[in-house]
Symmetry: C2
Subunit: 121 residues, 2 copies
Amino acid sequence: MNAMEIGTKLVELCNQGKNHEAMQTLYAEDIVSVEAMSMPNMPAEQRGIAAIMEKGKWWADNNEVHSAKAVGPFPQGDRFIVRFTYETTFKPTGKRQTMDEMALFTVANGKIVREEFFYTA
Amino acid sequence: MNAMEIGTKLVELCNQGKNHEAMQTLYAEDIVSVEAMSMPNMPAEQRGIAAIMEKGKWWADNNEVHSAKAVGPFPQGDRFIVRFTYETTFKPTGKRQTMDEMALFTVANGKIVREEFFYTA
């Protein structure tokens, strides 16, 4: 699959709430994930499907998701951008918030090898 | 200015219709601009403020703009993403269309040194 096809599949799965399946089927083993900022127990950059799935699990465990929307993909060459908007409550604080972020994905050999998130705190 | 400050200024100017001023004040002399696809008389990648301003002039001359909206910036490190939505009529064909694209900007030494556009035809 090329970047456009992978992006289309990713957006489809995310809009069905199947983020875990998206990672399992579309991500490369050595995926690199880069956040806009680091957190106390989490570096901004992590590598490998196990670490990235663990990050996803942490996020899912700590956020109640009221709504989630993925818009895109917007492709260029072997990359594509998706806009993600989440309405969540962060369980540890009970704070409800809207998360609006852009994700830049890079594809190689039919798999996503890099995801980079762009947002403000 | 850092990426967030430059992105904020760029979005502000574009939403005021001051795209030319944005290029004049925020772009580096050796700016590189990359489109998602090439056109008959325009390569996908161009370099230098003169060429990029010429491209902007070509676009402005050939499109009647009914509405324009820039959303962002979404920053990460020395880069930021902006979503642009235009409602235009392409003058040569008279065809009215909505353009919805993402732009990824890279900043160095307080200026935008690279713009990359992500979209489908």
